[in-house]
């Protein structure tokens, strides 16, 4: 529905103003990081006003060029991408069938509700409490400082969320659709693969995106289990601190790099999610 702009001009202006102010508050840190990334190290602390490029200082791409030229930066992007993508895929691959089973089958020894809560309970423990056990496990498996270790651990962490969110999505699908598939000659896996899964796809994509962001931002295990080879972006960002203090110009560039992939994926997925919502109702 369109807001009735002409009817309440004053009220509408106030709402708009609030929205603009709120947007500015949220976007300012991002803007500031962007502005800082374009400054000469010398300008970092001396720029006056809002740090508007060209107006308050002469922008330069030196920081970007310097940062992108380093192998550490490229390695961090590569590591984070591989870990986030594969951990999300692994969590979805394991979590979706579990979610479907919890949504559609009735378990007898342990009830579906208890199983679901048990999945979620894995996230009640503070992650830091599991650092030492996981370190020892990875050491035993000879996986310290490998991408595989972080993929496995991140997949373990996001799996409960995948199960809980996707289970709810399957519960919200009208069960008649799968029953119709049975009547059409499909077995359980046919009804799942051809009917339930495509219909849940938008929600699954959104879940995958959130899991990607979780993994992308994970810091604690990345810094504990990796020392040299598998540095991820959050670790790389933290590395912009050296003996002379925080190198804000580099920190800003790294922050921008860290933000780009999740934002891009969010924009792409947003269109997909909207498309999913307009598939059409079942009832007449």
């Amino acid at each position: 529905m369109k807001p009735k702009q002409n009817q309440y001009p004053l009220r509408y202006s106030i709402y708009s103003l609030i929205a603009v102010v709120a947007a500015m508050i949220f976007f300012f840190p991002i803007y500031w990081a962007f502005s800082t990334s374009l400054r000469n190290p010398l300008d970092t602390f001396t720029v006056s006003g809002f740090g508007i490029p060209f107006l308050n200082f002469d922008p330069t791409l030196t920081n970007w060029v310097d940062q992108l030229a380093t192998e550490e930066a490229r390695k961090a992007v590569y590591n984070s991408t591989v870990i986030a993508v594969f951990a999300s895929i692994l969590a979805l691959a394991l979590g979706i069938p579990a979610a479907y089973a919890l949504a559609r089958f009735r378990f007898k020894t342990i009830s579906n509700k208890d199983l679901t809560i048990w999945f979620l309970s894995q996230r009640v423990l503070p992650p830091v409490a599991t650092v030492v056990p996981f370190y020892l496990i990875m050491q035993f498996l000879n996986l310290l400082d490998t991408q595989l270790a972080l993929i496995l651990i991140n997949a373990t962490f996001v799996l409960p969320f995948v199960v809980v969110i996707v289970r709810q999505t399957f519960l919200d699908l009208p069960i008649e659709l799968e029953e119709a598939a049975f009547m059409d000659g499909a077995r359980n896996y046919g009804a799942f693969l051809r009917v339930a899964l495509p219909l849940a796809a938008p929600a699954i994509a959104a879940t995958g995106l959130i899991m990607f962001a979780f993994t992308w931002n994970e810091f604690l295990f990345a810094i504990t289990l990796s020392s040299k080879e598998v540095i991820t972006i959050p670790i790389h960002m933290a590395g912009a601190v050296d003996t002379r203090g925080v190198q804000f110009w580099f920190m800003a560039v790294r922050a921008m790099i860290a933000m780009i992939p999740p934002v891009l994926i969010a924009l792409l997925a947003q269109r997909y999610i909207v498309q999913g919502l307009t598939l059409g109702a079942v009832k007449g």
């Binding site: 008649e176 049975f182 009547m183 051809r194 307009t278 598939l279 079942v282």
Partner: protein, 360 residues
């Protein structure tokens, strides 16, 4: 081509038994309607035949096959759901062809069958649309198309017309009858609407509270309801029920005290009551007469008059303040609060005993 047999079928949800030992036999090519009020178990019974609901006890046969343990996919039945349950992510063409694709029918064959079904149902120009772009009636046709192409041995319909508007419902009703005449396949149809049951069924199974109350052709049920429930359920407006007192029994001749001063005499063979008992007399509104004086009569006061044009419904209170419904012709000359005499003949009277069963 298949008959359907149910032997002592029971269904419990947790501790609660909702279907209490139903036995029924549906003949090959028969159009059978399960009708009853909501919660009577008719849909559950249909879903058990389909295989979508577990069977607590009893046996179901489709043709000669014992199907209790078969997956719905293996029972050879096709079903139209109340919500249509079209796959929203597939085009109409894919929806109709889905079952064939699952059964690995060659593509050319699928194309041909889908086109044929679309022609029968007049939805050829909709084949490339998505269900979301169709009206209720069109979705209904697609849902039927999906069942036709599978050439099932039994068609199952779960209240398929209840989401349509009145005019479309009448039209689809006729089309379903035509479809049955052309396909000559066993069809089981569930509805709560007695008009649908009366118009379409070869035989009606009336269900109430998980029991089959009566089985018969529409006219058998209308003319000889087995009990008060069936008498009240079949026919619109509903049958009038009066409490009557048995005054005298002479052989097969019974004298009854009607509400007020009036008395009447009836012939019955199975007399399992005595003088002084209170029985129930049932008379359909269309069998009451206001203008021609014949047979027995009742005095009443007109309460409400509804004029439908072709006929008039009169609601009147008798001497014991029972509300009686009378269907008269459209031009009937009556007014509110008028004292009227309602006439009826004994051939149209139904007598029910204290156990609610009909007395023949």
């Amino acid at each position: 081509m298949a008959e359907v047999k149910l032997r002592n079928i029971k269904k419990s949800f947790d501790e609660v038994e909702v279907i209490h030992g139903v036995d029924l036999e549906i003949k090959d090519q028969e159009f059978v309607v399960f009708v009853g009020p909501s919660g009577c178990g008719k849909s559950t019974l249909l879903r058990m035949i389909a295989g979508l609901e577990d069977i607590t006890a009893g046996e179901i046969y489709i043709g000669d096959t014992y199907v209790n343990d078969l997956h719905p996919a293996d029972r050879g039945a096709a079903m139209v759901f109340q919500s249509y349950a079209l796959y929203p992510h597939m085009s109409v063409r894919e929806n109709i062809g889905f079952g064939l694709k699952l059964n690995k029918v060659p593509k050319a064959e699928i194309q041909r069958k889908v086109a044929e079904a679309a022609k029968i149902l007049k939805i050829e120009e909709l084949l490339d649309r998505r269900p979301g772009q169709l009206s209720g009636g069109q979705r209904q046709r697609v849902a039927i198309g999906r069942t036709i192409v599978r050439e099932p041995s039994v068609f199952l319909f779960d209240e398929p017309l209840s989401n349509l508007d009145a005019a479309l419902r009448v039209q689809m009703r006729m089309e379903l009858e035509k479809l049955h005449a052309n396909l000559k396949t066993t069809m089981i149809y569930v509805t709560h609407d007695q008009v649908e049951a009366m118009t379409m069924a070869d035989r009606i199974f009336i269900l109430n509270d998980g029991y089959v109350e009566q089985v018969g052709t529409p006219l058998e049920l209308y003319r000889k309801p087995a009990n008060i429930f069936v008498a009240g359920f079949i026919g619109s407006p509903k049958m009038n029920f009066l409490s009557v007192k048995v005054l005298q029994i002479e052989g097969q001749q019974i004298t009854l005290q009607l509400p007020g001063e009036d008395q009447m005499q009836l012939q019955r063979e199975n007399i399992n009551f005595q003088a002084g008992d209170i029985l129930t007399l049932g008379i359909r509104p269309e069998h009451f007469e206001l203008e021609q004086t014949k047979g027995c009569s009742l005095s009443a006061t007109v309460d409400i008059i509804e004029r439908l044009g072709n006929e008039t419904y009169i609601y009147a209170n008798d001497a014991s303040d029972n509300l009686l419904t009378v269907v008269g012709d459209g031009e009937l000359d009556v007014s509110n609060n008028e004292k009227i005499k309602i006439y009826f003949t004994t051939d149209h009277c139904h007598l029910f005993g204290r156990d609610d069963q009909s007395i023949q």
